[in-house]
């Protein structure tokens, strides 16, 4: 309250665009590693959403699907085709893992669009774990499947010999930057959108600009719906691309 009062004194405006990302204990007290927090709650709701979408709608196993079941089938076929098209037939084994990533990100993103919600995917803690999991899995898998041939990923054999060491350095750097870009892209997009909506909401306190601010919120909200899906899609498709590199290294 004190800081809000300060804000009001300064210019009649209250801007706390980042407060929505605070991780707080649900029942008060300090946050230790096992405390049920709002992050835990909204991840739990993501589980419920996945359960509702993928399990409850398909209980009837109808040949002619209901609306819910067709959405579940659509999600299944969407990710399945993505895995099949990008990684090839031998990548299908990893379909459940990729589906898990996609379903978690897409449900967390969409749940985060509910006003007053918490967005787990806006936190680097979450996206870094996801990206590192993909990075480590793909790297280990690459070495297991291909042995030292996996290093051929960094040795561009189609380039002139003199250029290859330089390219190898660039390739190695880009390889290790992957998890960074992979995680920051998702968290950054979600965080930025939600923060911008909050800023617009702060402006809505001024009567003169409030229609513009509310229109801005509506527009941003529409954009965020798009971003929620696209970022989940991008994260998943990049996972598939990295997986393809592990299964079939070389350019």
């Amino acid at each position: 309250m004190a800081s809000e009062a300060q804000g009001e004194q300064a210019g009649g405006l209250v801007f706390h665009p980042m407060d929505q990302f605070n991780v707080e204990s649900l029942f008060g007290g300090s946050v230790s590693w096992y405390t049920p927090t709002n992050a835990a709650l909204w991840m739990g709701l993501a589980i419920v959403a996945v359960l509702g979408l993928m399990v409850l709608t398909t209980t009837k196993r109808s040949i002619v699907p209901s609306r819910g079941q067709s959405v579940a089938e659509l999600a299944y076929v969407f990710v399945y085709k993505m895995v099949e098209d990008i990684t090839g037939k031998d990548g299908i084994v990893y379909f459940p893992y990729i589906m898990t990533l996609f379903m978690f990100i897409v449900s967390a993103n969409f749940l985060a669009l509910i006003p007053m919600s918490f967005s787990p995917t806006s936190h680097f803690a979450v996206t870094v774990v996801l990206a590192m999991a993909v990075f480590l899995t793909v790297t280990i898998l690459g070495f297991i499947k291909n042995g030292t041939k996996f290093l051929g990923l960094f040795w561009v054999s189609s380039a002139p010999l003199a250029l290859r060491p330089v390219l190898a350095i660039i390739e190695v750097i880009s390889y290790f930057v992957r998890p960074v870009s992979h995680s920051i892209r998702l968290a950054g997009n979600v965080m930025a959108g939600h923060a911008v909506i909050k800023v617009f909401a702060g402006f809505a306190a001024i009567a003169v600009v409030s229609p513009v601010a509310i229109a801005g919120i509506a527009a941003m909200y529409a954009l965020e719906i798009l971003v929620s899906f696209i970022q989940a899609y991008v994260f998943t498709i990049l996972t598939c691309v990295y997986l393809k590199d592990a299964l079939h290294p070389g350019h």
């Binding site: 399990v55 398909t58 299944y76 459940p96 589906m99």
Partner: protein, 175 residues
């Protein structure tokens, strides 16, 4: 309370709760649980179920298409059979018409022949009657001519016997 957490967050990081590393352990713990649960739900229940539904649908569609092909072939057969039956029926009808025509023609010919014989019989009878009448008329004419000739001969003052006159008249009439 809002102030407490806000100031706590500000104390821990430069204004971004994302960089407050004191909450990372908590988030990672719950994230791992979440991912594990979602993975279990998807890989044990949802994905096999949807895969079976899709496979079943594909099978059903393939079967239905095959059945439709069968039915189409049957329909074509039926159409061919129908056409053949139609052609047969037409031929049969033509044959019956021709037969009937022949039969009618024969009846007609018989009737015409019968009528012809009747007509010719009637005509012969009529001719006979006419001939009789004509013969009768000739006789009359002979008699009249004899009588007239006798009268004329008598009027001329001659006397003629019946035999001569008759011969003369007969000769004249022949001429």
């Amino acid at each position: 309370m809002a102030t407490d957490t806000h100031s706590a967050a500000e104390a821990a990081g430069p204004g971004m709760p994302q960089l407050d590393f004191s909450t990372w352990g908590n988030q990672i713990f719950w994230l791992v649980i979440t991912l594990f649960v979602i993975y279990l739900v998807l890989s044990r229940v949802a994905l096999p179920r949807i895969a079976s539904v899709l496979a079943e649908r594909k099978g059903t569609i393939t079967n239905d298409i095959a059945a439709a092909e069968d039915l189409k072939a049957k329909a074509l057969d039926a159409e061919a059979a129908y056409d053949k039956a139609l052609i047969d029926a037409r031929a049969e009808a033509g044959r019956i018409v021709a037969e009937t025509k022949v039969g009618i023609q024969a009846d007609l010919d018989a009737a015409i022949a019968k009528a012809d014989t009747k007509i010719s019989a009637k005509a012969a009878e009529g001719e006979k009657v006419i001939a009789e009448i004509r013969a009768g008329a000739l006789e009359n004419v002979k008699d009249v001519a004899k009588d007239t000739a006798k009268e004329i001969v008598a009027a001329m003052g001659g006397k003629a016997d019946a035999k001569t006159i008759t011969a003369a008249v007969t000769a004249r009439m022949k001429g």
